[in-house]
């Protein structure tokens, strides 16, 4: 179990500070693919950064704590402070843009060997052998090891990122919009590959994407975020078949489907600015079900049965 307790992620800017993640408390069951959905500015990338322990100015975790429920090889608990020592081995990050994440002047081979200190030539060769075998499982030829990142196509580069992120079989994989820049055919291949790897390694994967279709295909659990808060969590099947938060419901209902001629409507209005002082439910100004109370009282994330939680004063039935 990975537990977040009252976590606040704050950015410092010239205008002052702003909480991009505001008092989030939740538990994530390990061994699942956990989908995080929400719009730009909802705090989903900030949540990943905090989980990864990649906390640098202007971002800070100003309150709260994350309990990873894991110990390092030295027997100490893994915490936000020391998790960066376990990057790639215990926790890895697959970013959206592989072009800006791979070192452009270093061949892929070297990027696979950078994680470790080797004592002998033999160790290097053994590791490379494993790398080659692993690449083959990902439908990549060993020739990519001799290529520079720019010589590979976008889809191949992203598969190299997947290979780098999963080679050490980490307990936690964070994938931040891993296929957004790719074509649908390549996207399907890479996502199913990720799902296959997760099934085999039985680790916990956080998948951030704004594409609800992708969440439906891959995830076991869902987290829906809105304006720096978690508004709904639960089993993906349950969320898609019976969404309880009006925002989730509207998001799912606004998805076009091939073969369906029904007129669709998006959600009117826009998310609130996090700079403003926010009272009440943050979705209330756009919510068709909002009552006077919603504008006054901020709903807490509360269980509604079946492992399903929702932050709404008047959830959908």
């Amino acid at each position: 179990m990975i537990r977040l307790k009252n976590v606040v992620g704050t950015y410092t800017t010239v205008r002052g500070t702003v909480d991009a993640l505001d008092d989030v408390t939740t538990d994530f069951q390990t061994g699942n693919i956990i989908g995080i959905a929400g719009e730009s500015g909802c705090g989903k990338s900030t949540l990943l950064k905090l989980l990864y322990g990649n906390i640098e100015y202007p971002l800070a975790m100003s309150k709260g704590m994350i309990d990873y429920g894991m110990k390092g090889p030295d027997g100490r608990d893994i915490t936000t402070e020391n998790i960066s020592e376990h990057w790639f081995k215990k926790i890895s990050y697959i970013p959206q843009s592989s072009m800006s994440s791979l070192n452009p002047v270093v061949k892929i081979r070297k990027q696979f060997l950078d994680f470790q200190d080797f004592r002998s030539r033999k160790e290097i060769d053994e590791t490379l052998e494993k790398v080659v075998a692993f690449l083959r499982e990902l439908d990549l030829t060993p020739e990519v090891l001799d290529a520079y990142p720019h010589q590979l196509s976008g889809g191949m580069r992203q598969r190299v990122m997947v290979a780098l992120g999963t080679f050490f079989q980490p307990d936690i994989i964070l994938a931040d919009e891993p296929t957004t820049a790719l074509d649908v055919v390549v996207q399907k291949g890479i996502l199913l590959l990720l799902a296959e790897l997760q099934r085999r390694m039985k680790n916990t994967m956080f998948l951030v994407t704004h594409d609800m279709g992708v969440h439906y295909q891959l995830t076991h659990k869902m987290v829906i975020m809105y304006a720096a808060k978690i508004v709904e969590t639960g089993d993906s099947e349950e969320i898609f078949s019976r969404p309880r938060h009006p925002y989730t419901k509207m998001l799912i209902e606004s998805l076009p489907r091939i073969g369906d001629a029904k007129k669709l409507q998006g959600v009117e209005g826009k998310p609130p600015s996090l700079w403003d002082e926010l009272r009440g439910c943050r979705f209330a100004p756009r919510c068709s079900r909002a009552k006077a109370e919603c504008r006054e009282r901020c709903p807490e994330l509360a269980a509604v049965g079946n492992g399903h939680s929702v932050a709404c004063l008047y959830p959908e039935s």
């Binding site: 719009e39 730009s40 439908d139 196509s153 976008g154 889809g155 191949m156 598969r159 074509d183 649908v184 055919v185 390549v186 996207q187 399907k188 291949g189 890479i190 996502l191 199913l192 590959l193 296959e196 704004h210 594409d211 609800m212 279709g213 992708v214 439906y216 295909q217 898609f240 925002y247 509207m250 998001l251 799912i252 606004s254 998805l255 076009p256 489907r257 091939i258 073969g259 007129k263 669709l264 409507q265 998006g266 959600v267 009117e268 826009k270």
Partner: protein, 329 residues
């Protein structure tokens, strides 16, 4: 006799790649043709993945680049042809207007957004006098669900992506074009706002009698709004026809592959196919560009370009597998 909405004949665009000593020529568009005829304004979707040539086609239409060959007509006017035959640049602006993908890049952050609306009203709509200009701006903003008072004098950073994209659409319709070219207009817009923008295209089509060329890789929104659909692969048309006919009963193996890859809610993906690697060499294939990835490949596919076959349901398909009655050979 139905009017020509868009007609493209043998249109090609060749780019050179590589270094000075190792040049390769790539046909971003290798002689495509399709025609859409209708008495009603039509939303035409142009579907393709990266490298299919869909953005090249948009650039050619707006004369951002010059074609290597071929011709194109929009609303009965020649827009791409020999320099003497085609309409002047000025008339082209009144005929076709663009909407771009990234609303944050389309506007200069140092100019208030209504400058763009005003410039279009003055230079393209030829509105004269303060009242006429303001009226044109008010009308256009109303059509996209915004109020002139909320927009005038504001700068791009004061709007969300969805709002800016609405303003882009308002700017385009001030010119009263016959056709709006929209290149991935909603891919940068948040999911909750996306359908509202897409719905605008339908209402503008009906109210302003404007046709759209909707360029996208998103098959689901294309199904939702388009009347006609053209599917491109590596600079060639593979299948074109009525949107419902093509997307509900796809025939070309590439169209089927695309439809199978859509992450749809309510329909889980089955197994994954072995991943192939997209290479520039696909552009140089003699035969069908899709043949190296095609599960239904025939020997002739590798040797020559598949001919155009017109089927009874009105679609055109470029595949050796099909005869005129839509049955497989």
């Amino acid at each position: 006799m139905p009017q020509t909405v868009i007609s493209v004949k043998d249109l090609s665009k060749r780019y050179s790649l590589g270094s000075m000593f190792k040049r390769t020529k790539i046909d971003a568009l290798g002689g495509i043709e399709f025609e859409v005829k209708s008495d009603e304004p039509t939303i035409v979707s142009l579907i393709g993945e990266s490298g299919s040539g869909k953005t090249t086609l948009a650039k050619l239409m707006l004369r951002i680049v010059e074609p290597s060959g071929g011709s194109m007509e929009v609303a009965g006017k020649k827009i791409l042809a020999g320099k003497k035959e085609r309409i002047r640049d000025e008339d082209l602006k009144a005929l076709i207007q663009p909407i771009f993908q990234n609303p944050f890049e389309a506007f200069n952050s140092l100019k208030s957004v209504d400058t763009y609306l005003r410039d279009t009203a003055v230079n393209i709509r030829k509105a004269e006098g303060k009242d006429a200009i303001e009226k044109a701006m008010r009308e256009a903003l109303m059509a996209v669900g915004l109020r002139y008072e909320d927009v005038a004098g504001k700068y791009p950073n004061q709007f969300s992506g969805g709002e800016l994209q609405r303003i882009s659409i308002a700017r385009a319709i001030i010119a009263r074009p016959k056709l709006i070219v929209a290149d991935e207009p909603v891919s940068m817009v948040d999911a909750s706002l996306r359908m509202n923008i897409v719905n605008l295209f339908k209402s503008i089509r009906d109210e302003y009698k404007t046709s759209f060329l909707y360029i996208t890789h998103d098959l689901a929104t294309a199904y939702y709004i388009s009347d006609y659909i053209v599917i491109l692969y590596r600079g060639r048309v593979v299948e074109a026809g009525d949107a419902r006919v093509v997307l509900l009963r796809p025939l070309h193996p590439y169209t089927k592959l695309l439809l199978n890859s859509v992450p749809a809610v309510g329909q889980k993906w089955s197994s994954r196919e072995k991943m192939s690697d997209i290479e520039t060499k696909e552009y140089r294939l003699e035969g069908c560009k899709f043949c190296t990835r095609c599960p239904d490949r025939l020997p002739e596919c590798e040797r020559s370009q598949p001919p155009r076959v017109d089927l009874e349901d009105g679609r055109a398909i470029y595949c050796f597998r099909y005869r005129g009655d839509g049955k497989a050979k």
